[in-house]
């Protein structure tokens, strides 16, 4: 039995006001246990990014509760949410968002630096994280000297160097060709083998389904299906096919 790393209960998010008001999330219930790679799939405008922002404590829900390792985010101010992120959440973005003026090792170390970890050990941790994603020899390379796939792997190293409970990835393969996409997903799937870490990947890319343990489908702000996959044989068990409810 693995622990629940992140839990969303009855999440509603309304964006905009007046005529522009949009019900982006309509009562999402979600639990992400450690040791699992969960995909969130759905059409554009279905609420994927909004849900990712809410789970990542970047956006506060209009109603409902998010708990990270049991701790509720309700009522926390932006600084407390930032602290929660740096201590518990790693992010991987579609366009990497590496700092072009920092080397790969410095980009990774940045995630420790913002936590206040400036010890010599931080350098070692950054190098170890780069080695984990297969880029030990690129520590001193600047992002412009790396391929897209390598840049995304540096971003993954940055996301995991602080040993977060949750890694949230937004379309991590969207900017990559299939070969690099597969390499990146292999790395992410390996990260998900850690029972103390949940991986949550928003994607449009069906090629990455084989790397997942679970697939959620979202439409119009509701989770409409929750499928469990067996990574060993690819068999799928659909747990839910409904509007709203728990996933």
């Amino acid at each position: 039995m693995t622990d629940i790393m992140i839990e969303a209960t009855d999440i509603v998010k309304v964006l905009g006001e007046g005529a522009g008001r949009v019900n982006a999330l309509r009562g999402i219930n979600l639990s992400l246990p450690g040791g699992q790679l969960t995909l969130l799939m759905g059409p554009s405008g279905s609420g994927k990014t909004t849900l990712l922002s809410v789970l990542g404590c970047m956006l506060s829900p209009t109603s409902g509760t998010v708990r990270i390792r049991g701790r509720s985010t309700t009522g926390l101010d932006s600084e407390a949410l930032a602290r929660l992120r740096r201590e518990n959440v790693g992010f991987v973005f579609q366009s990497y968002h590496l700092f072009p003026t920092l080397t790969a090792a410095e980009n990774v170390r940045l995630a420790l630096d913002v936590r206040g970890d400036r010890s010599p050990r931080a350098r070692v941790k950054a190098e170890e994280a780069l080695a984990t994603v297969g880029l030990a020899d690129k520590a001193n390379a600047f992002p412009r000297e790396l391929s897209g796939g390598q840049q995304q792997r540096v971003a993954i190293a940055r996301a995991i160097v602080g040993d977060p409970s949750v890694v949230l990835a937004d379309e991590p393969t969207a900017a990559l060709d299939s070969e690099n996409g597969a390499v990146v997903m292999t790395v992410l799937a390996k990260m998900a083998e850690n029972p103390a870490r949940a991986l949550f990947v928003v994607t449009h890319d069906p090629r990455i389904i084989p790397f997942s343990d679970r697939i959620l489908h979202i439409e119009d702000g509701r989770v409409v299906s929750d499928q469990r996959r067996d990574r060993r044989n690819g068999s799928i068990l659909t747990l839910k096919y409904a509007s709203g409810g728990a996933a």
Binding site: L59, A82, R83, R85, H97, T101
Partner: protein, 382 residues
């Protein structure tokens, strides 16, 4: 090197054109402020140079005297009244006023400011005699028609050597001493003579003087003597050297508006510099907004991001100040012998550095306002 410093410095040097614009803005501003404040300081020093070099414990000046250069005459009886005050050791008459100097060989006239003080063994130990004498002897001023001029005004006066002659108000004047560095903030040359000579040149009756410099007895309390003089003498101002300095400064720097103009230009320089730096820092921050949003997304505190921006501003300040300082020093050297040199003291240098840092920190406010409103969720949209 911490990553804050690394990130700030690399952001700064990454865009060289913008860095150059920032540094030029700072240099322009600080050089302008250096020149204005350096001239202000120089002006301030020159205004009080006579008071600074006079060996007076207390000054007696005519009522409503505004500066050393503008005073009426004191009567001789006031000198004797002062001498009768308990604690007064010496009362030295000083004659000072504007006169016309006619260059030799029928040359044109130029205004001068003449200062006459007792010279010679019988005149006591103190007075207001020329200093920094580089040629001739001060004691020779006791000879008839003898004057001392400053080297920096040799061309203006048409005389540049010992023995050179001219006329002051139709009386012969012969140069017996030459000084270096006694300059006037009005650019009107200072000329020194004996007390008797000054009286003759300026037409001052023999018992009268423009000032009486009081020397108190060694065991007397200066403040007490000053108060006694103020009580016993009427229709005069009794001033300590500090009060006289302040009064002269106030008159020339602020009542005439000259100092205000210099300070106004300095303030303008600060404003222009701040705006230039603010614009470039703001633009740089806007360019790096995605990075700052990423920092926020990965959990950095606002303080961390503010540090990056402030370090960037501080680095700009250090680079800009270093260049401005070098230009400032060159200006100090270039104007050392000019009529109004730029003066740069250690205190002014430190003050300018603090000003540069403050200017850049204030300039960072607009950039800071941008990042404090940053939405970390914007990283998902790109």
């Amino acid at each position: 090197m911490t990553l804050v410093l690394t990130l700030a410095s690399r952001n700064l040097f990454h865009d060289r054109i913008r860095l150059i614009a920032t540094v030029v803005g700072i240099v322009f501003s600080i050089v302008l402020v250096t020149v204005q404040l350096g001239v202000f300081l120089s002006f301030e020093r020159m205004i009080t140079t006579m008071i600074d070099h006079a060996q007076a414990d207390v000054w007696i000046a005519p009522a409503e005297t505004k500066s050393f250069e503008g005073s009426a005459l004191l009567a001789g009886r006031q000198r004797f009244q002062a001498l009768s005050v308990n604690g007064v050791a010496e009362v030295i008459p000083i004659v000072a006023g504007y006169a016309s100097w006619r260059k030799p060989k029928g040359g044109a006239s130029t205004p001068i400011f003449l200062v006459g003080s007792p010279i010679g063994a019988s005149s006591g130990s103190a007075g207001l005699r020329p200093w920094n004498v580089v040629e001739g002897r001060v004691d020779d001023l006791s000879m008839p028609d003898a004057v001392a001029i400053d080297l920096s005004y040799a061309e203006q006066l048409g005389v540049g050597e010992i023995g050179g002659t001219a006329e002051i108000g139709n009386h012969k004047a012969r140069v017996v001493a030459i000084t270096k560095g006694i300059r006037s903030f009005t650019t009107t040359p200072h000329v020194f003579s004996s007390l008797e000579g000054a009286r003759a040149y300026l037409g001052v009756p023999s018992s009268m003087a423009n000032y009486f410099m009081v020397r108190v007895a060694p065991d007397a309390d200066v403040a007490a003597v000053r108060n006694r003089l103020a009580g016993d003498l009427s229709d005069v101002e009794v001033l300590t050297p500090a009060e006289f300095r302040q009064r002269s400064r106030t008159f020339w720097l602020f009542d005439t508006g000259a100092g205000a103009a210099l300070l106004g230009s300095a303030i303008l320089g600060i404003i222009v510099g701040t705006i230039i730096v603010a614009q470039t820092l703001y633009a740089s921050t806007k360019d790096h907004l995605k990075e700052f949003a990423t920092l926020r997304a990965i959990g950095s505190s606002r303080v961390y991001i503010l540090k990056v921006i402030l370090v960037q501003a501080l680095l700009s300040a250090v680079i800009g100040f270093s260049i401005a300082g070098a230009i400032g020093l060159a200006l100090v050297n270039a104007t050392a012998d000019a009529a109004l040199p730029v003066v740069l003291t250690p205190e002014l240098t430190l003050g300018l550095f603090a000003l540069t840092v403050a200017m850049c920190a204030i300039a960072a406010v607009s950039a800071i306002r941008v990042v404090t409103r940053i939405d970390p969720a914007m990283v998902f949209a790109q």
